[in-house]
């Protein structure tokens, strides 16, 4: 009897969800595509460090993004904002850091190319999740080759539970 009980427990543990499926979600911007931003130099002064000397900031304010989560309605998901490792117009991935602040229920955060940051964790109740983002792109001009494409990716991870 004891042996059988142990086996049952083992089976239950084996069935616990520990994996998830990931998908790239489409999104729409209310500002249309390819908004052109002119960056500005972040620091001014007579005695700048090399990082300060070459620090650029490009700001993209009040962008409403609508993320299509229709395929995940009723499911528990995690949504990440991800940046591709290779960014058009950037020589090296370490030349960019993106920060954002949201005005709604999605999480604010920051990310560098090749990484992702959680912006939502919960059950999907609607077909779209939207929020207004204020993006700040911190660019190292030494890595900037011109025409830098900012192309965030929204990755949805759905629990198998």
């Amino acid at each position: 009897m004891i042996v059988r009980l142990l086996i049952v427990v083992w089976l239950v543990i084996g069935a616990l969800p520990h994996a998830a499926t990931a998908a790239i979600a489409k999104y729409k911007s209310t500002q249309g595509t390819e908004t052109r931003i002119t960056p500005r130099w972040l620091y001014e002064g007579d005695a700048l460090t090399p990082d300060q000397m070459n620090a650029l900031i490009a700001e993209l304010k009040a962008v409403e993004l609508k993320i299509d989560v229709s395929a995940h309605t009723g499911r528990q998901v995690r949504i990440y904002l991800q940046l591709p490792l290779v960014v058009k117009g950037l020589r090296g991935a370490h030349g960019l850091r993106v920060e954002w602040a949201t005005r709604g229920h999605l999480l604010s955060g920051s990310v560098v190319p090749g990484n992702r940051t959680l912006i939502f964790h919960g059950t999907v109740m609607t077909r779209e999740i939207s929020d207004v983002f204020d993006f700040s792109l911190f660019i190292d001009s030494r890595q900037f080759q011109g025409g830098l494409g900012f192309d965030p990716v929204f990755e949805i991870e759905e629990s198998l539970k």
Binding site: E34, E44, G149
Partner: protein, 190 residues
């Protein structure tokens, strides 16, 4: 009997991955500070004792403290130079700092030196650049007396920070008096 064959050709738009935003080139920016900040012209001075005039013993010039205010030039009598050239992409443009020393130093005490003029070829400098980031530094030198003497050339996005101590070379015998002249520096990044 004729048969018509209709050909329909539909050209689909190319699928282009659009970005949310595209960051354009940054505005070009050059900054130049020579000595004191704002509109103040820094004056360096030297007094040569009569017995030493023209003996080729280099005479170090003095400069006011304002010539290095807020900079990392720590030593008295040095003049802070900061030239910055910012543009994108990096290393795509060349900045040049030139000096116009063609006017020389004119006698301001005509009673003793008349209309004599000491050429700026009698003035040189040494450089003790600050420890801060400094990819390009001005080498020691002497004014050429020309209108556009190249002092330093460097690429964007870079800067040159320098602490210059000017010196009078004292190789000419000149008449007693006070001599004064301006050197005009220009930073350009065409």
């Amino acid at each position: 009997m004729k048969r018509l064959i209709c050909f329909f050709l539909t050209v689909m738009p190319a699928l282009v991955a659009a970005n949310l935003a595209v960051v354009a080139n940054a505005p070009t920016q050059i900054r130049l500070r020579i000595g004191a900040t704002a509109a103040t012209i820094t004056t360096t001075t030297v007094t040569v004792a009569g017995a030493n005039v023209g003996n080729a013993a280099v005479q170090l010039m003095t400069a006011p403290a304002s010539a290095r205010t807020g900079s990392s030039c720590a030593t008295a009598n040095f003049v802070f130079f900061n030239a910055e050239a910012r543009a994108t992409p990096a290393a795509s443009r060349t900045a040049t700092l030139t000096a116009n020393s063609s006017a020389g130093m004119a006698c301001t005490t005509p009673a003793t030196c008349g209309t004599d003029n000491i050429p700026f070829t009698q003035v040189g400098w040494i450089n003790t650049p600050p420890a801060a980031y400094n990819p390009a530094t001005i080498g020691p030198g002497t004014f050429s007396g020309g209108v556009a003497q190249s002092i330093i050339v460097f690429q964007n996005s870079n800067q040159s920070q320098d602490c210059l101590r000017f010196q009078y070379l004292n190789s000419n015998i000149v008449r007693q008096g006070t001599y004064q002249g301006d050197v005009i520096y220009t930073l350009a990044m065409p």
